[in-house]
């Protein structure tokens, strides 16, 4: 099963997903799509946690638990972020980052 795959291959996949997320974060203007990019980044990290836990320290569950906590924090983050988006949209009819200039300087 999973032992057939070298660890480094899994890490390559997660690294690529991570930097795809970073690229998306830097090129998107819409806040929701930036949030999507952040979710990609978080999932790449989760994959790393799980893979290293599974391959190098299979007798423990630290990576597993950290993944669990990251998921929890991601949920909280998404909830607050979306609350902000909706409030923002209600006020300025847009959720583009460039439009939010009210509190600049």
């Amino acid at each position: 099963m999973i032992e057939d795959i070298p660890l480094s291959h899994i890490l390559i996949v997660s690294t690529l997903i991570f930097f795809i997320g970073v690229y998306g974060f830097m090129t998107r203007k819409n806040m929701i799509s930036m949030l999507i990019s952040v979710e990609l980044v978080l999932n790449a990290v989760n994959i790393n946690f799980v893979a290293i836990n599974r391959y190098l320290y299979p007798e423990r569950l630290e990576g597993h638990f950290f993944t669990l906590f990251v998921i929890g924090i991601a949920a909280a983050e998404a909830a607050v972020a979306i609350a902000i988006f909706i409030n923002l949209y209600r006020n300025i009819r847009s959720i583009d980052v460039d439009e939010v200039t009210e509190m600049k300087y």
């Binding site: 970073v22 974060f25 830097m26 090129t27 980052v97 600049k104």
Partner: protein, 637 residues
């Protein structure tokens, strides 16, 4: 061992009243606030009398020993140096309890009439409760730190109450003056406490004043300017007492403190707080007497000088409250002098007993005089003697009680002042003839200026007043009660109750001195009667012939002006101005420089804060990558 546990309620009740009415101020009706305060002090008064009766009269043993009714450790500085909070029951504290609670209770009741309709009615009673708490705590203190804490608390409440009419600039100035002057003197007190505790390793009175304790039996510390360190410490402690008790040269705040409501003058600035200095010296008397006799000489000298000095000023004043204020200073000088000439134990300790006795009787007749003055002011709406005259018909109750108090302070038998003053004079005679001569003269002056006041107010020229009437019962009843005390307090066998070492002794009646003192008092009274009983110009003529002397005393020997000269001209110009220049130009300049530099730099780098998230992310990521590269190539495995 007798149980004095209940005495803690004497402290708790006024404090609780203060907290309750203070926190709920504005929510409670003013009359309810007054009722709560009066109730608290009333119960405290009853408990004080209970304590006094139990201590003095239900005591089986021959002598009176100090009892610590309650004590808990408040703060532990080291193994031996512990700050306690407790209650000390001994002859002088019990006597003070009776004095303070009685006068305070009377003033509370009197104030309901005197302050009626005042805007700050509730505030007044709240602070009155605070003062009662602080003053009672002061006399019950078991150690130096506790007495210092309450010492400052009475100073604070005195400040608050002098400034009661805070819309009046003169009241505000007087409150500040009282606070600053006493605060300055308290600095000496604090240094004295620290010196004492440094050498003894304790704050507790029972350790410090133990006649067999190390402080008294051993010589400690070095010497400075020919006096031992202990003597200097005790002189500094006395400096605190002199500030509170308005001894020369700290007396300047007390006449100004008359800006406060008159009942406050009666309570704080005549009967209780100003004698705290006397109480402090009496509390530490064992140390003064046995280990620092030089400090005691200083006390005697300052006391005698102040009593003469203040009596001279009192003769020429025209504001009735100012006269009473200088009279208070003079009488406290008497008490201080008596402590100063006293020896330790037995008959030699007559001065101590006499001082406490005079404190006791003085509290009654001086509070009565002030409350009577309040009643007069209440009727006439003026402090100036020239606005009064012939009032004996209009204010009969005030007149009788005022006369009793005046006779008492003049030392006419059988009123209380006679007995205590006689003992003081006897003590002075036994110790130092010069002090006796001064005090003898002051006794005559006292009789003169008090009857000058009395005749000017109640006799003299007839004038018509609009709408004048006797004060309400809430004001006259306390007058009568205090008059009773002023008349008969002298019959208490004080030398059996309050002595230096707690062992009673018998006083002999000094007939010669008694006759002499009555004679000079009567002389003073007759001169006053001749000058002021009928309206005449004789007094002006005498004033004119005295010329410069009259002006100098009327201007209070220019002490205030000297103070102003020293503070304004010398300290402000020479020291403060240079410091202010340094502060404005060097210190502020440096601060402004840093501030301006920051602002200028911020304007330059402001553009980095573009608000563009993409840019932030880019910069952040670039930084992370550079850091990673640095890490990889500078710290290879």
């Amino acid at each position: 061992m007798e149980n004095y546990q209940y005495t803690i309620w004497i402290l708790i009740l006024p404090f609780a009243a203060f907290l309750f009415t203070g926190i709920l101020s504005g929510k409670l009706k003013p009359s309810l606030t007054a009722t709560i305060s009066i109730g608290a002090i009333g119960i405290a008064t009853a408990l004080s009398y209970l304590a006094a009766i139990q201590y003095f009269f239900l005591n089986a043993s021959e002598s009176y020993t100090a009892v610590e009714a309650a004590s808990f450790t408040w703060y532990r500085l080291s193994d031996t140096l512990v700050i306690d909070m407790g209650i000390l029951i001994d002859p002088i504290s019990v006597m003070m309890l009776v004095v303070i609670s009685t006068v305070s209770f009377m003033v509370h009741i009197y104030s309901t009439g005197y302050m009626k309709g005042d805007d700050g009615y509730a505030r007044y009673f709240t602070f009155l409760s605070l003062f009662s708490f602080a003053m009672l705590g002061l006399v019950l203190a078991t150690n130096l730190i506790q007495i210092y804490v309450f010492w400052e608390l009475v100073g604070l409440s005195s400040y608050l109450l002098i400034g009661h009419y805070y819309q009046k600039p003169s009241a505000v100035a007087a409150a500040k003056k009282a606070f600053i002057v006493t605060r300055f003197a308290d600095l000496g007190f604090l240094i004295g406490i620290l010196m004492l505790s440094y050498y003894t390793g304790t704050f507790s009175f029972s350790d410090i004043t133990n006649p067999d304790g190390p402080l008294i039996t051993q010589t400690i510390g070095g010497t400075f300017l020919g006096l031992s360190t202990l003597t200097w410490a005790m002189i500094l402690v006395f400096m605190g007492g002199a500030g509170k008790s308005a001894m020369f040269p700290f007396h300047i705040w007390l006449p100004d403190a008359m800006e406060g409501p008159t009942p406050i003058s009666a309570l704080i600035h005549a009967a209780t707080m100003v004698v705290a200095g006397v109480y402090l010296v009496a509390r530490m008397f064992t140390v003064y007497s046995l280990a620092a006799p030089e400090a005691l000489e200083v006390i005697a000298f300052i006391g005698a000088f102040t009593s003469l000095f203040a009596a001279l000023i009192a003769i020429t004043q025209t504001d009735i409250k100012k006269i009473l204020a200088y009279s208070t200073i003079s009488q406290i000088g008497y008490m201080m002098m008596a402590l100063g000439v006293s020896g330790y134990s037995g008959e030699a300790g007559l001065g101590f007993t006499a001082s406490m006795f005079h404190l006791f009787t003085h509290a009654f007749f001086k509070a009565l005089l002030f409350l009577g003055a309040g009643s007069i002011i209440h009727a006439v709406h003026s402090n100036e003697m020239k606005d009064m005259g012939g009032l004996r018909k209009h204010l009969p109750a005030t007149h009788i009680t005022f006369l009793i108090a005046t006779l008492a302070i003049s030392g006419i038998p059988p009123f209380s002042g006679f007995f205590s003053k006689d003992e003081i004079l006897a003590a002075a005679y036994a110790s130092n003839k010069l002090y006796f001569a001064v005090e003898y003269l002051v006794a005559g002056l006292t009789a003169f200026y008090m009857f000058r006041l009395y005749f000017n107010v109640f006799w003299g020229k007839k004038r018509t007043y609009e709408n004048i009437h006797e004060s309400p019962a809430s004001m006259t009843i306390p007058l009568w009660i205090l008059a009773f005390g002023a008349a008969f307090a002298g019959f208490l066998p004080f030398s059996h109750l309050v002595t230096t070492d707690g062992i009673p002794f018998d006083t002999h009646f000094h007939l010669t001195i008694a006759i002499a003192s009555v004679a000079i008092a009567l002389t003073g009274i007759f001169i006053a009667a001749a000058l002021y009983r009928k309206e005449s110009t004789r007094s002006q003529k005498i004033a004119a012939t005295l010329g410069v002397f009259y002006t100098v005393t009327k201007e209070k020997f220019y002490v205030d002006e000297i103070y102003l000269f020293i503070t304004k001209k010398i300290i402000f110009n020479l020291i403060s101005k240079s410091i202010a220049w340094f502060d404005r130009h060097i210190v502020d300049g440096f601060m402004n420089l840093t501030g301006n530099t920051t602002v200028a730099a911020s304007f330059r780098i402001r553009k980095f804060q573009s608000g563009n998230i993409h840019q932030y992310a880019l910069v952040f990521l670039t930084g992370v990558l550079i850091a990673t590269l640095v890490y990889l190539y500078y710290y290879p495995k």
